[in-house]
Symmetry: C2
Subunit: 501 residues, 2 copies
């Protein structure tokens, strides 16, 4: 495609996106297709001749749009806020348009240095100490894996450079809570620790936050048995209920054993932008690593996940395979981000954040976050005031965990009611929310924070929730029950798969 | 940013990109900044108030463009072709514009199914067997790590679900060649095998391809000592010289020990699009996994790396942490790509490939690849015919490894000459190429394959190479010597850091 062809098609696509975003509120929130339907709409074999841009755009409209759950919809309360702010979309377009290659500082100095600047800016905006150094990863899943690898090599004294994990005498152990995201267990398994060496520390039954007494006990027990406490993953804002692990106390306990503390604030990290919410993050500053995702509530388009570490030299010693003859004087002057993560080749992701912070400004983000917090408190108050309804967990941020509990309905019958109710809500196309297990029973998570969601939308949601719970929700649209047909519990993601770090 | 603000700014950005791409041939190829220069040009603290789009665009022009090595330039012969085709840039823009969230099939069915369709299309276009199943990863570094984790768990009998790598009695061993990319060693270390269990199999001194007799010997020796051969990483198109490991023979040897064979074809994979080049990939079809990057020679914008596997069930068993109650009947109907890699949240990357294949068409890609192969053969013929010049390795694809060897110049003096010569070429701003070590001595890699590079450009390069080698290259522009100031060898990447998978 020539630059002039790009110009013509690009203008058409920009218009299509602007139009699409403007009409999202009129679309059903949930994707409208059944398994295999999108695939069946596409040719089984690749095209042999070039096609016109209009044909591609027509398929984008006809095939792709109905096959996407509209996370930018004001009625989107599923999983977590997944805002793809348009200013950041432009930053991302600039990245592709530049066609820069990020492998070393030399290949694109601006890519590296803008990433340093943007991660510093966000550190400052979040009130974190200057000792943190940041890099942009794709997701907090990857960030957690990288942190666990760094922890493994600290506890294992750089074993990867010798016989590896398999040569260690004393097993290394990782600690987290059952409320942690599934990526923590996944990271621990991929890093080679093994499921037997992953401890699920108990949580406080009222707040669902990690019980540091139990953590202390578990670590002492392992140490006494000759095992090595290597890492604790604390969560600030758990997936199911946005519970806040007490990071200050976790760090104190971990430090007794020299264990690495990684803080997963994937969704909740955006709240650090608000000075009045930083008390929830007490102690984070003394952890070893921290991951949070501007691509969630803050609204930078995927994939923009921040990983901050204190000890960059250690991280580089783990992630770098640069031969010794590369360690020259000039290396002191530049950062080589290839040594801060898994991939060598990197996109120019800092542009997304740069465009967003400069064009939207941080104050508009803060205003929106405060709006969402107030909306969550408002909804929780309505639910609590309504007979037969319950708020099931502290509303620390923008997620409200609720259940409609008609008199006499308990156990499996209550579960069936909850699941049918969620399906009924989602089938209207006017809202989308998810269910999750809490203490073994299904509940409904209302995750507020789509950029477009105003108080009026939350009021409409509350109306819809009551209507559907009492069975007066109206007709179900065909094709909406995809993947939310929960006659069996087996069809539904558990609490550890609701959110993506 | 509202849709209407996006429309206005988006049109301006599309025009800027079209103009930028049109003038790239007039820019110096190498980035024009010194360490810290970009950073110093930006505010130390984040902006407090929103800025106008024009200001951001002006900084993109003034600060970012000079800080980027122009990999889209017709004079770019560095590292590897890193084409960011404009059709794929539009597909990427559509991804951001849609704002879709890829965590499960349910969150964006079209994202999942388009990825299935596109990986199938590319499998077919490459002449691979239908038993392969593909997913899009960010890079081949990540793909290699994922493959090594799958290999680890096959050899370790799913040890991650028990005591992990640290509980195994017999060490698992990984085999590759010294010509493999640095990401192979990195992946093996991160996966926990340990450097002591990474074998560097010898290469054929004429072709730099893996010596399968040495592989057989090394595996037998390990097995006899009670160690377990777990994986072989074969490279089709090595970084330094595009050497071709004999995959058919590698698979035969590996199979005797049940070891996993991963094929790294990061750069060279694009050549599978050409039926006449598939003989170079003989045996790949019987490997266990294969990674190649459309974001290199083929020209899909970063990050678009394909990972194909034969045994998807095994991969999912390694990468999935989905609780058992999710394994329901409907799961049979859909693919959950979260279980094929590390991150849970995924971009809609298939759109980049969809736009490129439909708008450009595969025949235009094939035409371009053939042009590049012919250009490489032409250049090699010129070099070979010139007294005092040498082609140092077989020209299997589009990379020509050369040296100017003035009479009487050997050893360190020859190295100094080579490095000074590369710097002189790069300092002209008209071309950019890299040096690499081969058998301990510096050589120059001419990696042909930028989308814009025609025969005329290669002819100009050959002229420039001769002028600079004889010291008649003219004046050095200020600021060009960044990171290519190689008075000491320490400043330069070795052969294992030239390419990014």
């Amino acid at each position: 495609m020539t630059p002039e062809e790009f110009r013509t098609a690009g203008h058409a696509l920009i218009d299509w996106i602007a139009d699409h975003r403007a009409r999202v509120p009129d679309l059903p929130v949930a994707a409208q297709v059944r398994p295999g339907e999108v695939r069946a709409a596409l040719p089984a074999h690749p095209p042999t001749a070039p096609e016109a841009f209009d044909e591609v755009l027509a398929d984008l409209e006809a095939v792709v749009v109905p096959g996407v759950t509209q996370t930018q919809h004001p009625g989107f309360y599923g999983w977590f806020p997944s805002n793809a702010g348009l200013a950041s979309v432009l930053g991302d377009l600039a990245s592709g348009g530049l066609g820069a290659l990020g492998i070393t500082w030399q290949s694109a100095p601006a890519l590296t240095e803008l990433e340093q600047v943007l991660t510093d800016w966000l550190r400052e905006l979040c009130g974190l100490s200057p000792h943190w150094r940041g890099a942009i990863q794709d997701t907090a899943s990857t960030g957690c894996l990288v942190a666990l690898l760094a922890a493994r090599e600290r506890a294992g004294d750089g074993c990867e450079h010798r016989g590896g994990l398999q040569a260690l005498q004393a097993p290394l152990v990782v600690y987290t809570s059952p409320e942690a995201h599934s990526s923590v267990a996944k990271g621990a398994l991929l890093a080679g620790f093994g499921a037997d060496n992953l401890r699920q520390v108990a949580v406080d039954p009222a707040t669902y936050a990690m019980d540091t007494q139990d953590l202390r006990h578990a670590m002492a027990e392992d140490a006494a048995a000759g095992r090595v406490p290597a890492a604790v993953v604390a969560t600030v804002g758990t997936t199911a209920t946005t519970a806040m692990d007490p990071v200050r106390a976790v760090v104190e306990v971990a430090r007794e054993h020299g264990a690495w503390v990684h803080v997963d604030a994937a969704m909740a990290g955006s709240a650090m932008l608000l000075p009045e919410m930083r008390h929830l993050f007490d102690g984070v500053d003394s952890a070893d690593s921290l991951a949070w995702n501007p691509h969630k509530w803050m609204g930078t388009v995927l994939d923009t996940s921040l990983l901050y570490v204190r000890d960059v030299d250690h991280l580089v010693s783990v992630m770098s395979t640069t031969p010794s003859y590369l360690q020259a004087a000039t290396d002191e002057q530049v950062v080589q981000y290839k040594d801060w993560g898994i991939p060598l080749g990197r996109r120019f992701r800092a542009l997304k954040l740069w465009f967003q912070l400069r064009l939207d400004g941080v104050e508009s983000v803060r205003h929106r976050l405060r709006r969402d917090l107030a909306n969550a408190r408002w909804l929780a108050a309505q639910v609590e005031a309504e007979p037969g309804w319950r708020v099931l967990a502290p509303v620390t941020l923008q997620t409200v965990c609720i259940r409609h509990e008609p008199e006499g309905l308990t156990g499996d019958a209550l579960d069936a009611h909850t699941l049918a109710w969620v399906d009924a809500v989602n089938a209207t196309g006017r809202a989308f929310l998810g269910a999750s297990r809490l203490e073994g029973r299904w509940m409904v998570r209302v995750s507020i924070g789509a950029e477009a969601t105003e108080r009026g939308h939350v009021e409409q949601l509350w109306q819809l929730l009551r209507e559907t719970a009492s069975g007066s929700s109206g007709s179900e649209r065909p094709g909406q029950g995809l993947g939310v047909d929960h006659g069996e519990a087996g069809d539904r993601a558990g609490e550890d798969d609701v959110e993506t770090p």
